[in-house]
């Protein structure tokens, strides 16, 4: 029986996500439509956005036409299941305690090691926890975080050059089942979280596919990144670092969850409001995120339900944070 046509996989929801993704990247690059039109003429706005969306449309057709389209859609087919209450509370307590000791920490994100998976099935990995936020993350949260990291990753990849001077444009893996070679893994202890159900995140969008920042690795004085178990994949910091802090934008709404806008550059539409707490025209405020890598530290197996102390023991000390 022939496999279903990729076209059969298209749904309005998927198309909607693709459009949202394009728009958010556009907003990151050019600012909002509203801002562009308020500052420039309509003709200028058209000249700015037309090439961008022309490219989007072309890529969209290719994306929808190629055989591997299901992999792209797999990246959109995921759900978000929050950590259970006890674990969230434990991690929240640890995060707040850590933040009180280091005021420059805004937030803490935890990611889970990828698992092999089959096509069409969302992988059980990705963002687990956004420390200081109360409550679980929405699917939009996770999507935007993954877009942010994906964007950062692309920028970093462009800098890499091989020994013979040939530029390397390394892309994240497309196949969830082939994603075990991800460069860096920010993971929690398997014992700590093995009994929990985590949110899913698409493999190719996953922050786990981001390359390791060499400077960050060098700056890791304790060598906690890979030295403990000798497994490079289990010990590297994600990306960022004090020399190049990354920022994201939180959208303040009436909803209890805080969607996070993507971007590692400050959106222009917020530039005039940088020194105030006023919101931008699209309700975005700028924050900095700190991402901790949680090493693969074994915890006695009788700790099936983590406590605050066990969580603390599984996280690196404050001095090993990476700002993101």
């Amino acid at each position: 029986m022939p496999s279903p046509s990729p076209a059969d996989l298209i749904t309005p929801f998927q198309l909607c996500n693709l459009i949202w993704r394009a728009y958010r990247l556009h907003r990151l690059q050019f600012r909002t439509f509203t801002h562009l039109l308020s500052v420039h003429s309509r003709e200028f706005l058209v000249s700015i956005i037309s090439p961008y969306y022309e490219m989007f449309v072309r890529e969209l057709d290719l994306t929808l036409s190629k055989n591997g389209v299901e992999m792209d859609f797999d990246a959109l087919r995921w759900s978000c299941e929050p950590l259970n209450h006890n674990t969230q509370r434990s991690l929240g307590e640890w995060t707040r305690k850590t933040k009180s000791e280091a005021s420059d920490i805004i937030n803490v994100l935890l990611y889970r090691q990828p698992r092999s998976n089959v096509p069409y099935k969302a992988s059980g990995d990705g963002l687990l926890f956004a420390g200081l936020q109360d409550g679980s993350l929405s699917p939009a949260n996770i999507r935007d975080i993954s877009l942010l990291v994906s964007h950062l990753r692309n920028q970093q990849v462009e800098k890499k050059v091989t020994t013979n001077g040939e530029a390397v444009h390394k892309r994240s893996v497309n196949l969830p089942s082939a994603s075990l070679s991800w460069d860096s893994v920010v993971q929690t202890s398997s014992n700590l979280f093995s009994a929990l159900s985590f949110g899913n995140l698409p493999a190719k969008r996953s922050p786990l596919s981001a390359p390791v920042d060499k400077e960050t690795k060098n700056g890791d004085e304790t060598g906690m990144n890979a030295g403990q178990n000798g497994n490079q994949e289990n010990g590297d910091w994600l990306i960022g670092g004090d020399k190049e802090p990354k920022k994201v934008w939180l959208e303040v709404t009436s909803e209890p969850l805080v969607p996070i806008s993507l971007g590692n550059q400050r959106p222009g539409f917020l530039r005039d409001l940088s020194n105030s707490q006023l919101l931008g025209e699209d309700n975005l405020i700028e924050v900095e995120l700190s991402i901790y890598k949680v090493l693969h530290i074994l915890i006695p197996s009788n700790n099936s339900t983590p406590t605050s102390s066990s969580c603390s023991s599984s996280f690196p000390p404050v001095s090993h944070q990476n700002r993101f």
């Binding site: 046509s5 990729p6 076209a7 059969d8 298209i10 309005p12 929801f13 198309l15 909607c16 459009i19 949202w20 728009y23 909002t32 439509f33 509203t34 039109l37 309509r42 003709e43 706005l45 058209v46 956005i49 037309s50 090439p51 969306y53 022309e54 449309v57 969209l60 057709d61 929808l64 036409s65 699209d282």
Partner: protein
């Protein structure tokens, strides 16, 4: 809002390798509130049958009146459906419109700014 379930076309339907996206519009209704300026609300549009189409400036004579009418019909229909549905669901806007001709996805990406995507049935099934 899902109106009518889509149905599969005959077996001689075109290959799915053809473009799936029939058209894409970016518009702001407030930019063209009169009949003479209605076309100005569309700042970008793509129409697969024409292979491409960046939106033309208001004075671009290349754009045929037929194409403009088609754009305005598509945009106007989407606005009408959105406004109609808003009466029943003020807090949850229309996310998709399914018809026998395919489906349409209207997204208000910013206040007043819409992206409208139309997928044709030939390319879907």
């Amino acid at each position: 809002m899902k109106s009518t379930p889509s149905k599969r076309p005959p077996s001689n339907a075109p290959s799915p390798s053809k473009p799936f996206l029939e058209s894409l519009y970016i518009f702001n209704p407030s930019l063209g509130q009169t009949d003479t300026t209605a076309h100005e609300q569309i700042i970008y549009h793509y129409f697969a049958a024409n292979k491409h189409r960046a939106s033309s400036p208001p004075h671009d004579k290349v754009e045929s009146q037929h194409d403009i009418d088609r754009q305005l019909r598509a945009v106007g229909l989407a606005q009408g459906i959105v406004e109609f549905a808003r009466a029943f669901s003020p807090d949850s806007p229309v996310q998709e419109v399914r018809t026998q001709k395919g489906f349409t996805v209207p997204i208000e990406v910013e206040k007043g700014w819409w992206i409208l995507a139309v997928l044709s049935p030939k390319s879907i099934f």
